[in-house]
């Protein structure tokens, strides 16, 4: 593979001190993610997938091992430099959306750019509008976050994650709070973004959702136990159409 490597981790360890006990959340993980990949990180709770996501998302530093993000060794960076990396190179989508309450979709999407002094006011507005158009919320820009459905809120969150044109998006159980149909809609959106070249790292424990990605990495007890490419990934739009059909026949 001569594609550009976005994420490269070598022999990554992460230990936590809980009381007298040392919890080994990650015990030597090697992983490489290239540009344009759509990776599902799977595993039961306690398998270490959340810990990995925190480290990959530059929210936490590894105890041992190296992490190169877009060619930069993250381990050597301080708190402020990590914040800058998150601001310029990463996008986050959370299970519970984490939108600012009583704030318009547009303002929510603008938020990451507010923390970047290089982006002018007009540029910020323009980028936020484009991001909202990309997630299909062209007509909902002025809507307040608390006036939207869960699916719409998650779309705003996705728009927020892509507004800074990141090298990779991290999604943490991004469909966890949504019903099946809305989940499929969100996955279709992620597939669409991925088709346009966006690298996505998607943490989930649902195999159904993982089928929509291109590569599944499964964790157990701090190790990767499976890392496989998905040959025929499910097309979320097809799944959605099928779901509608099923509902239709069920209703009749």
């Amino acid at each position: 593979m001569n594609k550009q490597t976005i994420i490269e981790i070598n022999n990554l360890h992460k230990y936590y001190q809980v009381g007298d006990e040392t919890v080994k959340a990650l015990r030597g993980v090697d992983l490489s993610i290239s540009k344009g990949e759509f990776v599902a990180v799977m595993g039961t709770s306690g398998s270490g997938k959340s810990t990995l996501l925190n480290i990959l998302g530059c929210l936490d530093l590894p105890t041992k091992g190296d992490y190169f993000l877009d060619g930069e060794n993250v381990k050597t960076l301080n708190r402020n430099q990590l914040a800058e990396i998150r601001n310029k190179k990463l996008g986050f989508v959370f299970q519970s959306y984490n939108l600012l309450p009583r704030t318009s979709a547009l303002e929510n999407v603008e938020l990451p750019l507010l923390y970047n002094p290089l982006v002018s006011n007009s540029e910020r507005r323009e980028k936020a509008e484009q991001a909202l158009i990309a997630v299909g919320l062209k007509d909902r820009m002025k809507h307040l976050s608390n006036q939207m459905s869960g699916g719409q809120q998650q779309r705003v969150a996705i728009a927020r994650s892509i507004v800074n044109n990141p090298v990779v998006i991290f999604a943490d159980e991004a469909t966890g709070n949504l019903d099946t149909r809305t989940s499929f809609e969100i996955m279709a959106l992620f597939q669409e973004l991925n088709d346009k070249g966006m690298t996505i790292c998607f943490v989930t424990h649902e195999p159904d959702i993982a089928k929509f990605t291109k590569r599944n990495v499964v964790f157990r007890d701090g190790f990767i136990i499976k890392d496989e490419l998905i040959e025929n990934r499910n097309n979320a739009n097809h799944a959605l159409a099928q779901l509608k059909e099923e509902t239709y026949s069920f209703d009749n």
Partner: protein
């Protein structure tokens, strides 16, 4: 992070919680309004006292007999008889700094006119007396040098006296009234001066030549006081020193002897009353300042709750690139904006309250720029001071834990 963006974020956060922001500000609003209103009332009465004293003439110097000590017994000032007309003449002839000088005698008594009578005071001096004490003639004329020389039984009457002994359409000039059974012909009326700050009616008086009062009314040779006008306000101290020197010479006092007279200037009077009203001012001001501090603690309380309540928001801001110092500045700015906004509303509210007090209770008020600037700066300081700790707490949060916070 750009400063303008910081302002946007802080203002948006305040607007998201309008009710809470308003209640937080209320403490500061009341505090600032209280400070401004209290200072306005305090400074107003201070100013009014000064004006009253100044209206008696800022160049005024009062020379009074000193209370005397005879054989260990302290005698009151009124029993002292150390000043007489000769002193006035001596000062007039020898002083270079005096612009006007007059003997002064006063006393109280009953005025009778026809079937009306009224208790009032009589003041008396020479032809320069009205100038020194700032009495102005409304109609008629003042007494002449000849009338002073002859101890003529003439007088000028104040407005309160006119109201009380004459019916509406009677012209008092030319009428004869009796003061303690001595008949006085009214030759003029005095312009209204109103009450002074001490509540004394300055129009309840009659004015007569000092010779008349000395010889015909009280039958005494000593004076109650000598009133002097210095050439200018700046020369008051100098003039007082000269008067002391001249009077000691004319009274032939030895160096070992104390002055048998006492000099009072308006400046002393102002500083005496000034210190009392300044004490009041400090007292009122500090009570108001306490309410401002309480308002500040209110801000701290709310900001503290706000940090806990918005932990997830802080986690999110950090995860999308907010640095610790951005979070610190945001919360600090929120607190400061709240207190500044509260300060602005408080200033307006304070000015309105002061004017209401002035109109309803007829109290003198004085709103100074100083008091506005002072309370404004103080509440800004309070915002920063009490906003610091919660802001610091917010900035030190771990983004992972903050995001997980329920």
């Amino acid at each position: 992070m750009r400063l303008i963006n910081l302002f946007k974020i802080a203002i948006a956060a305040i607007r998201r919680n309008k009710m809470r922001s308003f209640l937080t500000m209320l403490g500061i609003v009341i505090g600032v309004a209280a400070v401004i209103a209290m200072l306005a009332i305090g400074q107003g009465s201070n100013q009014s006292i000064r004006e009253t004293i100044s209206s008696m003439g800022t160049n005024l110097i009062n020379v009074m007999p000193a209370s005397q000590n005879r054989g260990g017994v302290q005698k009151g000032r009124s029993s002292s008889q150390t000043l007489d007309v000769a002193d006035v003449t001596y000062l007039k002839n020898n002083s270079t700094l005096i612009s006007a000088i007059s003997p002064e005698l006063d006393g109280s008594g009953q005025i009778v006119y026809g079937s009306n009578n009224w208790p009032t005071s009589i003041y008396s001096g020479n032809e320069e007396y009205s100038f020194i004490k700032k009495y102005e003639v409304e109609s008629g004329r003042t007494y002449t040098t000849k009338e002073i020389k002859n101890a003529a039984k003439v007088c000028l009457v104040g407005q309160t006296v006119i109201e009380n002994i004459f019916t509406d359409d009677v012209d008092p000039i030319g009428k004869t009234i009796r003061f303690n059974n001595i008949p006085f012909k009214i030759i003029g009326t005095l312009k209204e001066k109103g009450d002074n700050t001490f509540g004394q009616d300055q129009d309840d008086m009659i004015l007569a030549p000092y010779t008349t009062v000395m010889k015909r009314l009280f039958r005494q040779t000593h004076l109650r006081a000598i009133v002097i006008s210095a050439k200018s306000e700046e020369q008051i101290t100098e003039t007082s020193a000269e008067i002391t020197k001249l009077l000691r010479m004319s009274h032939k006092l030895k160096d070992s002897e104390d002055d048998d007279f006492e000099i009072r200037t308006q400046e002393e009077l102002i500083s005496n009353f000034g210190s009392i009203s300044e004490m009041m001012l400090v007292l009122l001001g500090s009570i108001a300042a306490i309410s401002l501090v309480v308002g500040g603690i209110g801000i701290m309380n709310i900001m503290y709750v706000s940090v806990t309540e918005r932990t997830r928001e802080i986690g999110l801001r950090m995860s999308i690139g907010g640095k610790g110092r951005d979070i610190l500045r945001q919360f600090l700015l929120e607190a400061t904006l709240l207190s500044v906004l509260g300060g602005i509303i408080g200033v307006v509210f304070g000015i309105v309250t002061s004017n209401v007090v002035a109109n309803l209770l007829a109290w003198p008020i004085l709103i100074t720029t100083d008091s506005i600037v002072l309370s404004f700066l103080f509440c800004t300081f309070i915002g920063v001071f009490f906003g610091w700790y919660p802001a610091k707490k917010a900035s030190a949060l771990n983004p992972i834990e903050a995001l997980r916070h329920e």
